[in-house]
């Protein structure tokens, strides 16, 4: 039995505006195991990103609560690393300075932490680029640098908010493989929000489907691939992939 690292209890979220109340999420209950890769898919505007913001502590839910390792989340937590849609490397900082951003903000720039940053840069092939600026790197390398920036603060849970959607398709496939390998190697728990069904199946151990607004959990699919060393790219080639894809596609009920 694996340890449950993240728990969501009855999460509900309503946005208030002058024109009225918009219910974004309702009654979300979920438990994520340590080392698990969960992806959340749903029709656009169903509150997927809202859910991530709530988990990260940036947004307080209208009802319900979030627990990380049994602790109630009240604000941004050091146990969580957040990756946004674009890499958002700061173009006025070198790669090394970018990577140290999180530590600087948390006032934890110690020699050990720096060493760890160097270690990560070396392991993932960016050490030679540490004094370069983001504009001198390719899209894939930038994404990797953004991941390292998140990893340096040593979070247990990574939240990926459509983290690859700003890349073109081919780069995206390659970067997905890349990032997946790093997440697995560093043994992190990950929760990814995406609108791309194929991407979610190829990476996740579990796919959670949300309904239309207000988002509730519609179904949960445990993804099992008959593969020894599973990577997102190889996952796309096994026959089960299509089966999962069809199931999830039906459940999303996408009507144009």
């Amino acid at each position: 039995m694996k340890k449950c690292i993240l728990e969501l209890h009855n999460i509900g979220m309503k946005y208030q505006s002058l024109n009225g109340e918009i219910p974004a999420l309702e009654n979300i209950n979920m438990c994520v195991d340590e080392g698990e890769f969960v992806s959340i898919v749903g029709p656009s505007g169903c509150g997927k990103s809202t859910l991530l913001s709530i988990i990260s502590g940036l947004l307080t839910p209208t009802s319900g609560s979030v627990y990380i390792e049994g602790e109630l989340v009240k604000g941004p937590s050091k146990k969580i690393g957040y990756m946004l849609q674009k890499d958002h490397l700061f173009e006025w900082r070198t790669i090394m300075q970018n990577v140290l951003l999180g530590l600087e903000i948390q006032r934890r720039v110690t020699p050990e932490a720096k060493e760890y940053a160097v270690h990560l840069l070396k392991t993932y092939g960016l050490y030679d680029f540490r004094d370069k600026y983001p504009s001198q790197l390719s899209g894939g390398m930038r994404q990797r640098a953004a991941l390292i920036r998140t990893l340096v603060t040593n979070p247990q849970i990574l939240l990926l908010d459509e983290a690859f959607s700003a890349l073109d398709y081919q780069t995206r496939l390659a970067v997905t493989d890349d990032i997946y390998a790093i997440i697995k190697k560093e043994n992190k728990t990950a929760i990814m929000v995406t609108h791309d069904i194929a991407e979610s199946i190829s990476m996740a151990d579990r796919v959670i489907v949300l309904t239309r607004r207000p988002g509730t959990i519609k179904s949960c699919h445990i993804i099992k691939m008959n593969l020894k060393n599973r990577t997102p790219l190889s996952s796309r080639e096994v026959p089960e992939f299509q089966t999962y894809f069809r199931q999830i596609w039906k459940e999303l009920e996408i009507h144009v």
Binding site: K78, Q106, F129, G140, T171
Partner: protein, 348 residues
């Protein structure tokens, strides 16, 4: 350029079509070369780097022409070392060089032509030099002013007032913009006031400043501030608002405070906007200073212009205008140089 001819024999064909107009070719090649060099250095690591190759094209297309100029320079340096250059490339570089020379030549030619024409027309009394002045008389006036020992005093007074004006305008404007960014309440409250102050012709405030502050340099600087401050506030605040909200979100996700969002993201990301405000302010401050000097002063280029106009000494007026345009251009170039120093890295 002779070097290039030597290498014509071992032509190194390039699949890009090289034409003189297509400056994108430069940046394309430059980026590719750089990345190749880089990724071969880092080639040991396993995760290196199919993605880099994939997105190269995307990167280089997005390049702007500024960057391509830089690349051109570095390419020239590289080429002169290796001396391996294709015939088409040599032609292309030559073509660019010819164009640049033609542009510079025409610019200088136009300047010399208009001054000569002015001089000749005035000498032969086709136009009245008493009203239009003429270049030789302007030079004489400068020499006279210099001999009287007042030339540099007037220039100095005006320049100092301008520099104080636009530095204060930019600093204060940025500071107020920070306050408005910080507090939505203050920002909402001050909005109608800013709109009114922005549309008010600030020159109307001149007499008010003179009465309040006294007829001296302080009133001139107040005038300058009145003209440049509101514009700076609005421009910098707009810059703050235009920064991607997700960048701030990133800092907040790391547990950052509002102050950290300001210092780590908003301010550094707005540096180009602030420099831009500085550029606009240089121009506006000259307006403020000259208007101020028209109204009150006893020294400075604005004073010379008004005085010259009143006693009908057009030589003095024209001379002051000439010095003014040179000083303004120099100061603007100074800001451009500052911009180059500070924001090399902001080109995306």
């Amino acid at each position: 350029m002779f070097r290039f001819h030597k290498s014509r024999n071992n032509v190194n064909y390039n699949d890009n079509n090289i034409s003189c107009d297509d400056s994108n070719n430069i940046s394309y090649n430059g980026i590719n070369d750089n990345l190749k060099a880089n990724s071969s250095k880092a080639g040991n690591s396993k995760l290196n780097d199919t993605s880099a190759h994939n997105s190269k094209n995307g990167n280089s297309k997005a390049d702007n022409s500024e960057k391509s100029k830089l690349k051109l320079k570095s390419l020239k340096a590289e080429n002169s070392k290796t001396e391996e250059i294709s015939k088409e490339r040599a032609e292309f570089l030559n073509c660019i060089r010819r164009k640049t020379i033609m542009i510079k030549f025409t610019q200088i030619f136009l300047l010399l032509m208009s001054f000569s024409l002015w001089e000749i027309l005035a000498t032969y009394k086709i136009i009245d030099p008493f009203i239009t002045s003429q270049p030789s008389r302007i030079i004489n006036t400068i020499v006279t002013l210099y001999k009287e020992g007042v030339l540099f005093r007037h220039i100095f007074v005006t320049c100092v007032e301008t520099i104080i004006g636009f530095t204060l305008g930019t600093l204060l404007g940025t500071l107020i913009a920070i306050i408005l960014w910080w507090s939505e309440f203050i920002s909402k409250v001050s909005e109608p006031y800013l709109v009114v102050l922005n549309s008010l012709p600030k020159i109307a405030l001149g007499p008010v400043f003179i009465v309040w502050i006294g007829a001296g340099p302080a009133a001139i600087i107040a005038m300058t501030l009145a003209i440049s401050l509101i514009v700076t506030i609005l421009e910098v605040l707009n810059g703050f608002m235009a920064i991607d909200k997700d960048k701030a979100k990133l800092v907040q996700a790391f547990g950052g405070t509002k102050l950290q969002v300001m210092t780590k993201v908003i301010l550094p990301a707005s540096l180009p906007t602030i420099i831009n405000a500085l550029k606009v302010n240089v121009g506006l401050s000259w307006v403020g200073v000259i208007v101020g000097e028209f109204l009150v002063s006893k020294a400075g280029l604005g004073y010379l212009i008004v005085y010259g106009g009143q006693v009908f000494k057009l030589d003095l007026v024209m001379t002051s205008v000439m010095i003014l345009s040179v000083a303004a251009a120099l100061m603007y170039q100074g800001v451009v140089y500052l911009e180059k120093l500070l924001i090399k890295r902001y080109e995306v």
